[in-house]
């Protein structure tokens, strides 16, 4: 950290021992620091221990995904979507394919929707586990991190079983899924569902009544609903301020309307509410996964429409038309009608949507990702100003930003 006086913010202070001048101190935090959850850099002006102004400096992870996607076909873009928010990858994949499917009027089979929801909600739990572990790590409690990572590994094992990889899955396709889930997957998910609530009780015992945790988070970083909305805050952080906005309920996609779950809200709007809200959300995600497993029925997992989906492999040997469709889709891709769509979805961080502009070509003309982390970062200013420097770390953790999601 480097420190230097911040301009001409000299304040004259008169005490009984005589008059002197104090100056605001400008401190640089990050970008390489564990408590910034990636490569977030903050320029903080301090008056003693109190924060006067805070300015996030971002872009260290900018990869130009939006530009790259303008030069890839619609199916190829899925390679890029899941690399933005690498902690909740499936949310990005889902938001993207939902957008293209609306553009194409794709008839997605119900089984594909169910599997998408199961994976998306398991990924939300994994994301919240990272949040809990690292967030409480920032307050100095190391133990919980190992516990949450242990359960996250179980979820990643499930993903590896389905997709073959542990991160950056690329498993969803426009019109369905890459392939069906493997045999034995449902049983393993059910086994996880049976074991996980006990683990959650274990976490709760570790931190929910911990005096240090409570005094570090209660009443810290309070943001009221009006300020939060003005700054564009969404997701669990907004719900902690009492606004029950959840796009899984408000504008259901991927058949979320079939599942019963509660939108977790809290009135206090402090860091504790943001921690506790995400913790309680994991139980709701478990409920959704359980219901989706119950509703999961055998069936196709890809849109039969040959404009979108590749023909089955065995047909290529007997049908000339299948070969032609296969060739056209692989070399050229499909052509959505000219226009723009936006499908809002709920990621673990907030409102996530892809604004896709199509010119009728087989690649998107413009892709704009409404990333929740970037917009949520702006709420740091109202949360932190007037508070202690040490509380800033708690506030960053409680917002749960993923810098890949911020910088795109």
């Amino acid at each position: 950290m480097t420190a230097k006086p911040a301009g001409s913010n000299a304040v004259a202070v008169a005490t009984e021992h005589g008059a002197f001048e104090t100056k605001h101190m400008r401190i640089n935090v990050g970008p390489q620091h564990p408590s910034t959850h990636g490569v977030l850099r903050l320029v903080v002006d301090l008056d003693g221990e109190r924060i006067v102004h805070i300015a996030p400096q971002i872009g260290y992870l900018h990869t130009g995904f939006e530009k790259t996607m303008e030069h890839r076909t619609y199916q190829q873009c899925i390679t890029y979507t899941n690399r933005m928010d690498y902690v909740h990858s499936f949310a990005h994949d889902l938001a993207y394919v939902e957008g293209v499917e609306r553009l194409m009027d794709s008839q997605v089979p119900i089984r594909a929707h169910r599997v998408r929801v199961i994976l998306n909600e398991l990924n939300r739990i994994a994301s919240h586990l990272v949040f809990l572990g690292t967030g409480i790590l920032d307050m100095g409690a190391l133990t919980l991190f190992f516990y949450t990572m242990r359960e996250r590994e179980q979820i990643l094992d499930l993903f590896e079983m389905v997709t073959g990889v542990r991160m950056n899955y690329g498993y969803f396709r426009v019109g369905g899924l890459y392939r069906d889930i493997p045999e034995g997957f449902e049983e393993r998910v059910r086994a996880f569902l049976a074991s996980f609530p006990a683990m959650m009780d274990q976490y709760a015992a570790l931190f929910m009544k911990n005096d240090i945790f409570l005094s570090r988070t209660k009443g810290v970083g309070i943001i009221d609903a009006e300020t939060a909305l003005a700054h564009g805050l969404t997701g669990p952080s907004l719900r902690a301020s009492g606004v029950p906005l959840d796009f899984r309920k408000a504008q259901p996609y991927a058949h979320y309307q079939d599942y019963a779950f509660d939108v977790i809200t809290s009135e206090t709007g402090d860091a504790y509410a943001r921690f506790e809200g995400r913790f309680r959300e994991m139980r709701e995600s478990l409920r959704i996964v359980e219901q989706a497993l119950d509703l999961l029925e055998p069936g196709p997992v890809q849109d039969p429409d040959r404009r979108i989906s590749l023909p089955p492999r065995q047909e290529l040997e007997t049908s000339m038309e299948a070969v032609i469709f296969h060739f056209k889709l692989v070399t050229e891709g499909f052509h959505p009608p000219s226009g723009a769509v936006y499908v809002p979805t709920e990621s673990a961080r907030g409102e996530l949507g892809y604004y896709l502009v199509s010119d009728g070509g087989s690649m998107p003309y413009r892709v704009k990702v409404r990333v929740p982390s970037l917009v949520n970062l702006q709420s740091l200013q109202p949360m932190c100003v007037g508070g202690l420097f040490a509380d800033m770390v708690v506030n960053i953790a409680s917002l749960d930003p993923v810098l890949g999601d911020v910088d795109k």
Binding site: I58, G59, H62, K67, H71, T73, E98, R102, L103, M104, D105, S106, Q107, V108, P109, I110, H113, L229, A230, H231, G232, V243, L245, A250, Q251, Y253, P304, D305, R306, R307, E321, I324, F325, E332, G333, H335, P337, S338, G339, V341, Y342, V343, P344, E351, G353, Y355, V357, D359, G360, G361, S362, M363, Y365, K368, R370, L374, V375, L377, Q378, D407
Partner: protein, 221 residues
């Protein structure tokens, strides 16, 4: 339950969006609907008034501000850039898009006074498209490096190829390489591969019933 779920259900435009749309038409706006999404294109001068009218009517969450460069868009006429406000009304559960068209060098009034959250979003559009937001408190680059010249999401931004002299004496000229990529002429490979980009299909929206058996029919393109 049917086996095929259908496309994600688009939320139809509700009463609030319709009311605001009429108010924006009063400001000189041209409404348009695509896939149940209302986009009202308002004149550049009344962009701020339109945003204020929408906010006062109940669109309380500014989801996004985005830029579009129409340079290569087929059959596009009119100003080169668009700035789109993506607004959401929480209580009414409705969404409306306000679009402002402008040319290079023109500026839009900032809406940071209505939503402080527009700060980063407008800075991002400024950074990537070079659109100037008049009255913005801190209009600096947001995500690209300070020393990067140009605006990366403009369609004429060079794609980063560097002239390269290989050891065997072969020289890679970026211009011809790029020409091959975008399909205007034969590039290095001699194959006009990129022709897929910018091909406008004359496809019309087919009714759902005929599309279900599309697998059995010949592809029309």
């Amino acid at each position: 339950m049917s086996e095929v779920a259908g496309a994600p259900a688009a939320v139809p435009a509700g009463p609030l969006a319709t009311t605001v749309q009429e108010a924006l038409v009063g400001l000189g706006g041209r409404p348009g609907v695509f896939k149940e999404m209302i986009t009202v294109t308002v004149p550049r001068a009344s962009g701020h008034d339109a945003a204020r009218a929408a906010k006062e009517a109940g669109f309380d969450l500014l989801s996004d501000v985005l830029g579009i460069d129409w340079l290569n868009f087929p059959r596009h006429s009119g100003p080169r850039f668009s700035v789109v406000y993506n607004l959401y009304a929480i209580a009414a559960n409705e969404r409306i898009f306000i679009r402002i068209d402008l040319d290079d060098g023109e500026s839009v009034a900032t809406i940071t006074d209505l939503w402080p959250g527009a700060n980063f979003l407008e800075r991002e559009v400024f950074d990537l498209f070079g659109v100037h937001f008049a009255g913005h408190p801190n209009l600096r680059k947001l995500i690209t490096p300070e020393d990067l010249e140009g605006h990366a999401l403009r369609k004429d931004f060079p794609l980063g190829e560097t002239p390269t002299l290989f050891n065997d004496g072969r020289f890679l000229d970026p211009a011809s390489f790029r020409a091959g990529m975008i399909g205007r002429s034969r590039g290095l490979t001699g194959w006009v591969g990129g022709a897929r980009k910018g091909v406008v299909s004359e496809q019309v929206e087919r009714p759902a019933a005929t599309r279900a058996d599309a697998a059995d029919r010949k592809h029309e393109s």
